[in-house]
């Protein structure tokens, strides 16, 4: 692999891993919140955060 | 305190002597593993000779893990843990006592494995003092770490897989140090065997200190 390809792969893995993990955390919180019937109250907040993380 | 330690150790050893798990099952199993290593490496003696130290400690790790598991299964069966807590024995004594009992058992295991590698792997000893020092240091580290991490997984339903997962990373340096020290003692590697033996003593000391401090937290359930 060339230097540039390595850098791209390395940064790519980092960002994908962090984005996946953040999304998982937020979605899980949202899921359990709904299950418990407290998600609805603050739903809009959760959604904002979801969109904020998945992009990164 | 010393009497308490001996009391705990004697209790564990008596349980062991009656059940004969260590001698009757674990030791033969460890010997079998030594044989299987020989098959895996195609009885290539030069390879076996060079790897003898490492294979020896791997067998000890395997047998030792079983013994550690066993040492705490005995405690958690039938609510023995509560009985122990209620007896006036102090936590440090309990920790040291159980470590002492494990030390004896692992030593017995090694007394069987030691001749095993000498005979099966065709190795000679060039430095007996180092060999014994390394064996003692390694056994100390094994038993102290074993008690500390054994209690961590004691009484949990998935302990059979959890204990090795927690124990192996901690014992990895001991395994490394033990293998290097043995290789020096068996004359297949020139190197600082005594430093490695020293490292195992340090690991044992650190874990003794940690165990003395932390054992109380681990046993006081709720």
């Amino acid at each position: 692999m060339s230097e540039v390809a390595t850098v791209v792969v390395g940064w790519g893995i980092t960002f994908v891993a962090l984005a996946t993990y953040s999304t998982w955390v937020v979605l899980r919180g949202k899921g359990i919140g709904q299950e418990l019937g407290i998600g609805e109250i603050e739903q809009s907040d959760v959604e904002k955060d979801t969109s904020a993380t998945t992009d990164s | 305190m010393l009497t308490e330690i001996l009391l705990v150790a004697r209790k564990d050893l008596r349980v062991e002597r009656r059940a004969k798990i260590a001698l009757g099952q674990v030791a033969p199993l460890a010997l079998l593993i030594l044989m299987v290593f020989a098959f895996a490496l195609d009885a290539n003696t030069s390879l076996l000779e060079r790897g003898a130290g490492g294979l020896y400690w791997l067998a000890v790790l395997y047998g030792g893990t079983l013994l550690i598991q066993r040492s705490f299964d005995v405690e958690t069966d039938d609510g023995n843990m509560d009985a122990l807590r209620m007896s006036a024995i102090g936590m440090p004594s309990l920790f040291l006592g159980k470590a002492l009992a494990l030390f004896v058992q692992i030593t017995v295991l090694q007394l069987i494995l030691g001749p095993g590698i000498l005979l099966l792997y065709n190795v000679g000893v060039v430095d007996w003092a180092l060999l014994f020092a390394a064996a003692i240091a390694g056994t100390l580290a094994f038993s102290v770490c074993g008690v500390l991490w054994g209690v961590m997984s004691a009484g949990l339903r998935v302990r059979a897989t959890l204990l090795p997962l927690l124990l192996v990373p901690v014992l990895a340096p001991v395994l490394l140090a033990g293998s290097r020290a043995f290789e020096t003692a068996l004359g297949v590697r020139a190197g600082a065997g005594w430093t490695w033996a020293g490292l195992m003593f340090v690991i044992a000391a650190v874990h003794t200190a940690l165990g003395l401090g932390a054992f109380g937290f681990l046993l006081e359930e709720g």
Binding site: T6, L18 | L156, E221
Partner: protein, 253 residues
């Protein structure tokens, strides 16, 4: 912070929303600085850009594990006085450890890629690499211990002790490059030594650390809240179970 006893505090708050957006912006800027603005290295060329994810990741991992140990100590002190207290410290320890493990994994992966282009190998058993992978496995074990089905107090206490013991490895990992001869280069920055790194790269590295810190803080806060929700769910599930059992008993009589 007597923690999360009202449900409304559970999900995102204005503060974390701001934090989340700034984490996003900060990491975007980090990519621009690290991948485009900062110069290539005189020897390593473009490969030097791995520095800006590799080094901040392990620092965040160290920091998270430090947070785990600190809150474990606080948890042990609290729960000693009363068994039902200090739960929030336990949750904090758990969330920080998980984030730490994620960043340790990133460090290992980026390190292997970087090693392939500069050293010419993905992996070597030198002191730094070996201790780092042990650190990773140890904290994986910690997370496994936290997940076990057991009484929460027992489990948390054992996990807290394990967190304390596991932290011993962190300084060993960090100083391994000074104590032993390793293939890995010495620490990029350390106290009391002149940084041997040119200005633009130095500032990019510091900025990347800041960006990743914001992201990690946001992650830890959210993970904390999710752990709290999981606990609530478990409690509620237990209550529902008891209720259904009671109903059945009433029915059968």
């Amino acid at each position: 912070m007597p923690g999360a006893n009202s449900a409304a505090k559970m999900t995102a708050t204005p503060v974390t929303r701001v934090l989340g957006v700034s984490a996003l912006a900060a990491t975007a800027l980090m990519a621009v600085l690290g991948l485009i603005v900062s110069p290539p290295d005189v020897i390593q060329g473009e490969a030097v850009r791995m520095l800006y994810v590799h080094v901040p990741s392990i620092w965040i991992a160290y920091g998270s594990f430090a947070l785990t140990s600190t809150s474990s100590v606080l948890f042990l002190r609290r729960s000693r006085r009363r068994a039902d207290q200090g739960r929030h410290y336990d949750r904090l320890a758990g969330s920080a450890a998980e984030v730490g493990v994620v960043f340790t994994a990133i460090t290992l992966i980026t390190g292997m890629l970087w090693g392939k282009v500069t050293w010419g190998t993905y992996w070597q058993w030198d002191a730094r690499l070996t201790t780092t992978v042990l650190l990773f496995v140890t904290y994986l074990g910690y997370l496994a211990l936290r997940r076990l089905p057991a009484e929460p107090t027992v489990r948390s206490r054992r996990a807290a002790v394990m967190a304390l013991i596991s932290f011993v490895n962190v300084p060993i990992v960090h100083y391994s490059v000074d104590w032993w001869r390793t293939l890995h280069q010495k620490a990029s920055l350390s106290v009391g030594r002149r940084p041997e790194i040119t200005g633009e790269m130095y500032w990019t590295l510091l900025y990347s650390t800041l960006a990743v810190t914001i992201l990690a803080t946001w992650l830890i806060i959210h993970r904390y809240r999710v752990i709290r929700l999981e606990e609530l769910r478990d409690e509620e599930g237990l209550e529902a179970l008891i209720a259904s059992r009671l109903n059945k008993d009433v029915g059968s009589h």
